[in-house]
Symmetry: C2
Subunit: 417 residues, 2 copies
């Protein structure tokens, strides 16, 4: 392989990772707080860099939603700074020893949580990811290699430069925050085979990008392709609760991965539940796509096509299916779901326990909105991303997801017989 | 991709994995005990199948060590049966809910341990791995796809057939134990890209095989290439303890991955420690390869070449290096180690704590033989393998390594504001 700039950045990050791993919690938190301060102090420079990205975005006629996500106004920069301060406030996830057991021969065996080493982050659009992920990696003692999207290139570079400068002021090798200063897929492809230097790849962005990364990476990938989240309204549901939760899950923020995309309704309750639910949805501007039985109950809604069942609309659109029972609802989720988040609305005790146990998604809920599937809402402090890869971390990933446990043993001369 | 027999077995295992995941602990343990009984009852058939492998091995002039590992005599079959009974005896790793916390809005959030889904096992030589891994997978609620080495093909198939038959008797889909009935690397290459059906690949065997798997797999791989384990004898070591531990780590079973391959000695203690240590090693038949300073103290030993420092001898050979201090010992381990197991021998409190924290290997010990780095010795019940991949599981992997935690939430109508 040609040992170009990506190789250079990753191998330097691997070297620097040892220093980061050795910092005390106090040192790491002081760095994070100084980074927050430095972002605020460099408000003007950041906005200037961001202006270049915004101008290019306007020229390339990006959607207003995309331009919105790109924009670093004062509020957005303050939010980044606050996020770093919040990360500084959570407990150090590394260095503690857990589960120390005394073996019959007197050997004490336990586990110490340590950093993974080097986190490879591949992301699109939102420049705040640069600061968030760098902050989470430092907190967990990891180095990071950042490869942001081309549309936010100048903003990302400006943020990374500020953060690296803070490392320098603290006498820490700035290589611990590696920023890949080239765009284009070639850099991604080079990055994901550097398994001697990068320990995990976390891609965030469009499904296309994530699939390319997953298919070509020689490094373990933690990712989710999409969130096709379901709510199953059981025959024993409290109807008012069901209306509120379903509305919230679909309407409160439809463009995110933990919004509901398919509503499953037990046939026993469909006639009582669906008309009022549909009335509320329609008055909130939701476009419903119903199965045959749903269309027989509701007038004037679109008939769902087969491809509606695994669609992530990310919009005010909802697929609705009437099922014979919870069994069929779980089969539907199993077949069409994305292992992200599912919720059952019911007052039936046994059904809650069976649903919680049987549904294999990374978050399974009872009587709550799918919108809670989020690291912050779950109390993880902050979120690196959500994993539906059934390895290492499953569901919202906080700083603990950036660590691993090694075995530690205290002996007093034990030898093996 | 051509959808051949490997695809067929993996996709059927994925289907069957849902049934296995739903079994109660009592059912799983009853299956495991019946499997043990069935192996004992089929002693003759197993030995007949094994005879075919042994005959082929003799014809192919395999080493006597390899033929030994292949052999399924009565004792070896009884050991397999006992291992399955032992696995039946450990607690069910799945289904419990941990760390349930009440969020400010009243939502209860916790984690439930669940099976990974389908484990892909690629292994060489020892046919007992077939029964051990199938047993560990059933215990943890996983389906398994087994791809054993060609030299044990008939033995492996006979064992898998017996285990599948027990599943049938219990009314469980036998596809949960998938056995790939073709040899050759093509089957391996087909298996490791089936990321829609297999959740993790665990390769055990020679470094060459493992590298091919790691480089080509589209599925996360948990593996260790080799075990270059170090012991560092610090200036503050108890010399008698050091003699005993070093002897044990090198000599008790030199052919395994947790045996010591390099001895590092603090220069302050080298003159006092090395002559007696060398006398004991030489009288046990150990061939020493010393650094320059070591050769100045010990007569008649071979000078170490640069390539000795990262060699896994798996034999009565030991590299010996004198270092200036613990810092240099840790740098040596960092540079040449394999992230497997390292031990420090010292009575110095501060050094133990620094060594434990700073050395990044999957097992780090104080005053104990590296030979203890083993799932059984650590109390994990049984071992799937040892991972030096810095993801998911690090160090000896028991049944817990075959599980993942999903989030579960109990609400009473929570919606997100």
């Amino acid at each position: 392989m040609e040992q170009g700039i990506v190789f250079d950045i990753a191998s330097k990050a691997a070297k620097a990772s040892k220093e980061i791993a050795g910092l005390s919690g106090i040192e790491k938190d002081s760095i994070l707080r100084d980074m927050a301060g430095s972002l605020r102090e460099n408000m003007d420079g950041l906005q200037e860099a961001n202006r270049m990205d915004l101008d290019a975005a306007a020229k390339n006629i990006l959607s207003s939603a995309m331009i919105d996500r790109l924009r670093l106004d004062e509020g957005a920069i303050e939010k980044m700074a606050l996020a770093l301060e919040e990360i500084a406030g959570i407990p150090d996830p590394t260095g503690g020893i857990m589960g120390m057991q005394r073996r019959p021969n007197g050997l004490l065996v336990g586990k110490m949580r340590i950093p993974l080493g080097v986190v490879g982050m591949i992301y699109e659009s939102r420049p705040n990811v640069t600061a968030d992920v760098a902050g989470l990696c430092i907190k967990s003692g990891n180095a990071v290699v950042l490869r942001g999207g081309s549309e936010a290139f100048n903003s990302n570079r400006a943020i990374a430069d500020i953060l690296k400068q803070v490392l320098v002021l603290h006498g820490v090798q700035p290589d611990a925050i590696g920023f890949i200063p080239v765009t284009g897929h070639k850099a991604v492809m080079e990055m994901i085979v550097l398994d001697d230097y990068i320990d995990v790849i976390i891609p965030r962005g469009g499904e296309g990008l994530i699939r390319i990364v997953a298919e070509n990476s020689r490094i373990p990938v933690l990712k989710h392709y999409k969130g096709v989240c379901h709510i199953f309204v059981d025959a024993a549901a409290d109807l008012d609760m069901a209306y509120n939760i379903c509305m919230n899950a679909k309407v409160q923020r439809p463009g995110v991965c933990n919004a509901m995309e398919t509503l499953l309704v037990d046939k026993e309750i469909a006639q009582a539940f669906l008309p009022e639910m549909a009335r509320r949805f329609v008055s909130a501007g939701v476009d419903l796509r119903g199965c045959e039985r749903t269309c027989a109950i509701l007038d004037n809604i679109t008939k769902a096509e087969p491809q509606d069942w695994d669609k992530e609309y990310l919009d005010l659109v909802l697929a609705v299916r009437i099922v014979d029972n919870m069994e069929q609802a779980m089969d539907h989720i199993d077949r069409y779901g994305s292992d992200h988040t599912e919720s059952i609305i019911t007052q039936d005790y046994t059904k809650t326990m069976v649903f919680l146990r049987r549904v294999r998604s990374s978050t399974v809920m009872v009587n709550a909105s799918t919108r809670f599937a989020d690291g912050g809402e779950f109390g993880l402090g902050a979120e690196v991303g959500i994993s539906t890869s059934r390895i290492h971390a499953y569901g919202p990933m906080g700083v603990e997801g950036l660590t691993i446990e090694k075995f530690v043993c205290f002996g007093d001369g034990q030898i093996r017989e």
